[in-house]
Subunit: 484 residues, 2 copies
């Protein structure tokens, strides 16, 4: 035998013998080495929430962030004419208690999402736009709305059956995870408008209907409280916004953590055993008892682990792609749509910009009007193949029928494509590919020795949202406390 059987198998024996906490030749070449109780990888909301709990409990924490800022896929920029623009996550929803608590703890303020008027709706088979009142009271008069509601109920009836903590335990889990949402729609929703409306359900995953299984989609909807909770403003997921932008809370938290957060430190490798970890960046090696890996699953899988992760974990992150969405920020001198009695919210899934929402700041911060547009999944990937100027022209033109010619001349225009942000790789979040929810079960979040997984994708409540990220970080911190 010319090779070690241990090296081939990489099993329990290899784990036990790994020389963790001794310095490797590679570590020796690095310029510095420190010790911590816990290393947190990633300073998005999941990582910050974990670090904050650990720090408050008196543990020595080091947070390693690949970027030069905190917040991850939450990023707020100040606008020239006053106010701010959220390039990523921006809402605080009803029942998002952990985000609400953190906002309060950090002394930040919220305001109700502007929703002053009618929502515009156009079906894929209708010629023009219908005005739907904010309270939905005239929805029934929209032609075809009964068929949409019927399809919605059909989907919701399945959603209600799912245990968000263990979707793989549903009696139909094996079947539903091998059934794509596209197939289910073809078989269950004959009406074109209803089908297109329901496809918006996958906008939470930013996936195309062929890419996501029923089981994963039902899980996401269920874990966020159902379709009505996901879709609405007041009393629902888009209820409030944060003064200064959604990143402000993360910035405040970062101030308190201070130099415990290190920037421009992509983690390349984690050496681990039952006795602890050593986390390697290009410049340093940090030894610790535990690590919280709080980055999107695909990026967690991109780190080198020595020894290898067990098979389930090594493979699940390969089946957990990030979605795709372009968030379009359009700034105008004023929220001109309000004069026409429009809320700025619109739904036209037959167009490039399927949804819009009013993202203006309160008037005391800026008189400017801000409209946010969303371009999802395959539609996003298609327009991303265009030149930047062609794309801008086409996206704005797709809104002209809704908001008139003024929409064509924003004073500021900003597309955000998170798929090309190397430390996110796609938004809103990762979703499990068909089969993986059922086949990999709790590997989605089970710790492995000193390795703990966080990130909104691992949450069983409000996954894909900031609140889910915070919950996941707090869960990881609790698991570390219970190991001590």
């Amino acid at each position: 035998m010319k090779v070690s059987r241990r090296a081939l198998l990489g099993g329990a024996a290899a784990v036990a013998s790994a020389s963790v906490l001794t310095r490797s030749p590679r570590a020796q070449a690095q310029s510095k080495s420190t010790r911590a109780d816990v290393v947190v990888v990633g300073a998005g909301y999941a990582g910050l929430a974990a670090a904050w709990q650990l720090h408050k409990a008196g543990l020595k924490v080091v947070v390693l962030e690949a970027r030069d800022r905190v917040g991850g896929r939450v990023w707020s920029i100040d606008l020239k004419g006053g106010g701010w623009l959220d390039l990523g996550g921006q809402w605080l929803g009803a029942t998002q208690d952990r985000f609400a608590a953190l906002i309060q703890e950090m002394g930040c303020q919220t305001y109700p999402t502007p929703n002053f008027g009618d929502t515009l709706y156009r079906g894929v088979t209708s010629s023009g736009y219908y005005r739907v009142k904010a309270d939905g009271s005239n929805w029934e008069s929209v032609p075809g709305s009964d068929l949409i509601d019927e399809a919605d109920e059909k989907l919701s009836a399945m959603v209600d059956q799912i245990d968000p903590k263990a979707p793989w335990q549903h009696p139909q889990a094996a079947i539903w995870d091998g059934l794509t949402f596209g197939q289910w729609l073809d078989q269950n929703v004959p009406d074109a408008n209803a089908r297109r409306f329901l496809i918006a359900s996958v906008s939470y995953a930013c996936a195309s209907p062929q890419e996501i299984s029923m089981l994963q989609l039902l899980f996401i909807i269920r874990a966020c409280g159902g379709l009505a909770m996901l879709d609405g403003f007041e009393g629902a997921a888009q209820q409030d916004r944060i003064i200064g932008g959604a990143q402000v809370v993360a910035k405040r938290l970062a101030e308190r953590l201070g130099s415990r957060i290190q920037f421009n430190q992509p983690v390349r490798k984690i050496r681990w055993s039952d006795r602890g970890v050593t986390v390697f960046t290009d410049q340093q090696a940090i030894a610790a008892q535990s690590v919280v890996i709080a980055v999107p699953p695909t990026l967690a899988g991109s780190i080198e682990y020595e020894p290898s992760l067990p098979t389930d974990r090594a493979q699940i992150t390969q089946r957990w792609p990030q979605g795709c969405v372009i968030k379009v920020g359009m700034v105008f001198e004023e929220p001109f749509w309000r004069k026409d009695g429009l809320s700025g919210a619109s739904i036209d899934y037959g167009s490039l910009v399927g949804e819009t929402a009013d993202s203006s700041t309160p008037p005391e911060y800026s008189k400017q009007g801000i409209l946010t547009g969303f371009v999802y999944a395959e539609t996003a990937r298609q327009v991303l193949r265009l030149s930047a100027s062609d794309r801008r022209q086409q996206l704005l033109a797709s809104l002209q029928g809704r908001f008139g010619d003024r929409i064509l001349k924003p004073v500021f225009y900003q597309e955000m494509n998170w798929a090309m942000q190397p430390w996110t790789k796609g938004c809103y979040a990762g979703y499990l590919a068909p089969g993986a929810t059922y086949l990999f079960k709790s590997a989605v979040r089970d710790p492995i020795g000193p390795l703990h997984w966080a990130g909104t994708e691992t949450a069983s409540q409000w996954p894909t949202f900031i609140d889910g990220a915070i919950r996941s970080g707090e869960r990881a911190a609790q698991a570390i406390f219970s190991q001590r």
Copy 2:
């Protein structure tokens, strides 16, 4: 504006302005820097084939390999009692002309795969094993074989319609890519034996039926010449073996490339623009005109790219997981099954070890008998959760009904689980998740400026095989020649 719009968009403007070929602070910290015409990432068969063509054309090539050996997922070890064991790819098939040519060019020898006797077959509904002659002449007398043949023909009729160079162009591509193989089986193959037999079709992808789409499966089967070509020995995919093991050809090639191959050099980052690339490992930065990235797609996606890859490429590797299979090598004092008129080949998809094959070396190298067993996809992941000793006991016990008590006492026993090899992450190969074949189309292999993609997964002929790897490397080399 506090942030650069270029940094947000990451589009063409960012590419044009990236300071490629100038040294970054990070590069300056590294101990050495060199120049090459082409850097090849990965010294598996794809990378070696690319490097060999480029080198023969007079280009300066540097091959960076993460491991301490060449061959990638082809790895041969010498056995104590003589002969060798292939832990990964091991066969040369009919029509695998590029592998055959390389074998000849390197002066290596082949021998026909041993197949001296009857194959054992048991259906999931049959109580015992049937002996099927090597020429298949008595297959029709096996109960239920007509239903298996019928299902096989149904699948083959779809396979024949696929263009292996562009499976996304089939009129039904959108539908078939949103239909999992599991769903198709449920709807089209009522017989349990036939269904289980056809599930073996996904063994080429080492996927569970819920995980893979019809379109991707049909592509793989078509690109390898059809089910009969994939399944057989003589005149088919498992026709010949290589004297000394399948890695020997790679080793010979490595000898000729000499110091152009550098080991223990995981590539962490590639900076690129239209003017060239800089490839970073932990120790060095190498500037070149082009790079061939010849590693499994999921690992190609794990490298940091600066600037980001375009959206399609940044996202396709997130939808391209490696399969899962355990290859079990069992060595005995002699190939005792031959005395019973058995070939060593067996099929029992209701058992843990679904397939076996005789992998003995010619008697002049060793008198030992070598049997190879395959444990696929979800079955593999399930037994990998057991302890090593329990797993060995259960896997051997599952063969007892086929080969008697002698199978329980191998003189050497070796499991190979490539999912826990950090520089492969799963075998035989990567497959595109549902939706991705249709949605991402030629992004599967399109070069991006100076970035070229190789690896058996990118081949349109013999993907998942060594031959496909070689073809992909030679294609990448040709693309570089045509750019010069």
